[in-house]
């Protein structure tokens, strides 16, 4: 079962009942979406931004790692509208989302929740945390305590203090 860990000012916590779901890409399906907390795939947002905004509920964005940086830059004026941006790791060795995260945080100034979803391992928490992710969907409930302990330990870690950045 998937579970969410989120960083708050003081700590990392397991968030029960995470409401966010990934919305379908197809336009027809979008029109009939029930009320809820939806993460829209980029293609859906690009087509239906007006309709999505008009729903009057918080919304987020779901990005696959093949998202071109230029498409992210086009989002800049609207980034403030997204409550959550989820970056997908189809497999943990696909490091493209690391670059996308840096672009979102450093270049485009996105300050909302940045969430790692997909193949998230204990071993990549370090890198994602350093790049400004502040929420993680872990696949296995039993790893959550370990993950939270690991994230806490990273606060004192020398591996977090990267020189020349």
């Amino acid at each position: 079962m998937n579970v969410l860990i989120r960083e708050s000012a003081a700590d990392f916590q397991l968030v029960p009942d995470d409401p966010w779901r990934i919305a379908p890409k197809e336009a027809d399906a979008l029109l009939s979406l029930p009320k809820g907390a939806w993460l829209y795939p980029l293609a859906a947002w690009q087509k239906e931004a007006a309709a999505i905004s008009a729903r009057g509920e918080p919304f987020g964005l779901w990005l696959y790692p093949d998202t071109p940086p230029i498409a992210l830059e086009a989002l800049k004026p609207r980034l403030v509208d997204f409550a959550v941006i989820a970056l997908d790791f189809p497999v943990f060795t696909d490091g493209r989302a690391y670059s996308l995260a840096r672009l979102l945080r450093e270049r485009l100034g996105y300050t909302g929740e940045l969430r790692a979803v997909g193949h998230v391992l204990l071993d990549t928490l370090l890198f994602t945390r350093r790049l400004g992710f502040d929420a993680w969907i872990m696949r296995e409930r039993q790893h959550v305590d370990e993950a939270i302990a690991h994230l806490r330990s990273l606060r004192q870690s020398h591996m977090m203090r990267h020189p020349y950045q």
């Binding site: 204990l122 350093r130 020349y164």
Partner: protein, 563 residues
């Protein structure tokens, strides 16, 4: 050389602890094999043909006597008492147990060593000139920047899962001793502006299954912007390099596909955002690191010592020979750099026993301020030896088979571990090297053949740099038999280029004969003082082709007789 501060040390200790936990999770089943694999590779741990292999980083080839003694100790207690130096300055331990790897890493931290990023799809060990800091043709000691690159690239959060590995070399000399045309990225000092040194950036080179010469993407890049510029290149690679096919994933393939102009445009677009940002180097930071590389306390030469050297040369022709091959000029009068050959007859090229590691440590302490370097040609270098003590050094080095006077000669082969150890290899390399060493053991013959490079790789991954050998030997698998393809005319250096295939591949048993025939053609055709490469460049491959045809005919005749 660079000494770790408490933060540097804490980092590698934490990394070792993290790795210990990863091994434990893998053993408990919490990490699947396919998850553990990239994680262990990032920390230099391979699972090989006979046993796991741990590749220990020797950043930009600098190693201390203390570190050498530690490696000797580790290789005795955890391995079979020897190691193998690679073309990226690293030391491979070929017979360790996975469960010992965490303990080995802990022990390495005691001497400020690690195995971070000696494999995996990340930025690999930074390489440089083995004569860095002392070469007469040097404009700037590249080691402070190499150390900065090491720190920048180690555990880089954005670049730890790239499409494929990135190999970076840096050079501060006029001469190219770092193989800069065949790296993913090479940085070469090209002058200076009002703020200091500037660099030429070469991108998209590499050997392997698709050998490509790098191309110049930038010139006159100020040193302060090196890191931001590298970040731009690696980011473009990270986002756009192919991830569907590992054989088409290297940076060189992306540069080739986009073309230099487009790759350069994308890099510059990225750089426009990064330039002047937090990755910009400061003078204070450079000086902090550079202070670790300040020159040792050199002594002034005496007229006496110079005279004594001349006498010794006359009295000991063996010593004179060794001087001719093993000694490299030094920018300080009265000093020399000395190459300790790891290519003695019967020694697998680049292999070193624990006893030899300890001997090198003792020699480094006695003769070279306690430091040594690893050259990418798989030899060791003592960089700061007083010329007046060369005879003494020669006598000491000879005892441990470290004074073979063959540097730059035929038996100074670059050679990968090959099929005897490596899982990727199609054929054995060391057996071929041994056969060549045996056939060409006579020093008079070697000196007569003169400057020549012979490089052997056991497969297309080209760890033995066969493409750039004057004679290149590549192991190929033909119907489960070991065959070898021969190339001629490759070279390293400023005019580096790839050799040409001159005929059909030959079976293992014929390789030495073919090499002998090729060398006979050279001897027949050469002009006075003309090296093998010069002769080849002048006469081309045609006169050499019959060597292969003859071997091929003999192989066919033999096969026919057997059937």
């Amino acid at each position: 050389m660079y000494r770790y501060n408490p933060d540097d040390l804490a980092l590698i200790r934490e990394r070792a602890a993290q790795f210990r936990a990863q091994v434990a999770r893998w053993r408990s089943g919490a990490l699947r094999d396919e998850e553990f694999r990239p994680l262990r590779l990032q920390n230099g741990l391979y699972v090989q043909r006979h046993a796991p292999m741990l590749r220990v980083a020797v950043p930009y080839g600098m190693i201390s006597a203390v570190q050498l003694r530690k490696l000797a100790d580790i290789s005795r207690r955890y391995d079979k008492g020897f190691g193998h130096f690679t073309t990226r300055h690293n030391l491979q331990l070929n017979w360790i147990r996975i469960e010992d790897a965490p303990d080995i890493l802990d022990e390495l931290t005691e001497v400020e060593m690690h195995s971070i990023q000696t494999s995996g799809n990340c930025i690999r060990n930074i390489t440089t000139d083995p004569f860095a800091g002392i070469a007469p043709d040097e404009g700037m000691d590249p080691r402070p920047l190499a150390e900065i690159l090491r720190q920048w690239s180690a555990m880089h959060p954005e670049f730890s899962f790239l499409p494929r590995k990135i190999k970076i070399a840096i050079s501060g000399s006029a001469g190219d001793r770092v193989l800069s045309w065949y790296h993913d990225i090479a940085l070469r000092l090209d002058g200076e502006d009002e703020e200091g040194a500037t660099f030429t950036v070469i991108v998209g080179g590499g050997l392997g299954r698709t050998p490509l010469r790098g191309q110049i993407i930038e010139q006159g890049l100020p040193w302060r912007h090196l890191l931001s510029y590298l970040e731009a290149i690696v980011r473009v690679f990270n986002l756009h390099g192919r991830r569907d096919n590992p054989y088409k994933a290297r940076l060189k393939i992306l540069v080739q596909r986009l073309g230099l102009a487009e790759f350069s445009r994308q890099t510059r677009d990225e750089w426009a955002h990064l330039k002047g940002g937090p990755a910009t180097l400061t003078k204070a930071e450079y000086q902090r690191v550079a202070a670790h590389f300040s020159p040792p306390a050199y002594r002034s030469p005496t007229a006496q010592s110079a005279a004594r050297l001349t006498t010794r040369k006359t009295a000991h022709p063996d010593f004179a020979r060794w001087l001719e091959r093993a000694v490299h000029p030094h920018k300080i009068p009265g000093y020399a750099a000395v190459i300790l050959s790891l290519k003695a007859p019967g020694q697998a090229p680049g292999d070193i026993t624990a006893a030899q590691m300890e001997s090198v440590a003792a020699l480094a302490d006695d003769f070279s301020f306690g430091e040594a370097r690893i050259a990418h040609e798989q030899n060791l270098v003592l960089a700061d030896v007083e010329q007046g003590r060369l005879f003494e050094l020669w006598q000491a080095a000879r005892k441990d088979a470290l004074a073979t006077p063959n540097t730059g000669l035929l038996t100074d082969m670059i050679c990968c571990p090959g099929g005897d150890f490596c899982d990727l290899a199609n054929a054995r390399s060391v057996a071929i090297a041994r056969a060549i060493q045996t056939r060409f053991a006579d020093l008079d013959t070697l000196f007569d053949l003169g400057e020549i490079s012979l490089n052997i790789s056991g497969c297309v991954n080209a760890c033995g740099h066969h493409h750039v050998g004057n004679i290149g030997i590549l192991g190929v698998d033909r119907q489960s038999e070991e065959f070898y393809q021969i190339t001629l005319g490759g070279s390293q250096g400023s005019a580096a280029h790839i050799g040409k295939v001159i005929g059909p591949a030959v079976p293992a048993a014929r390789v030495v004969d073919v090499v002998a025939r090729i060398l006979a053609v050279y001897r027949r055709e050469r002009r006075p003082d003309e090296t093998f490469l010069r002769t080849f460049d002048r006469i081309g491959s045609a006169p050499f082709k019959p060597c292969l045809r003859a071997a091929d005919a003999e192989t066919r005749a033999e096969t026919a007789a057997r059937n």
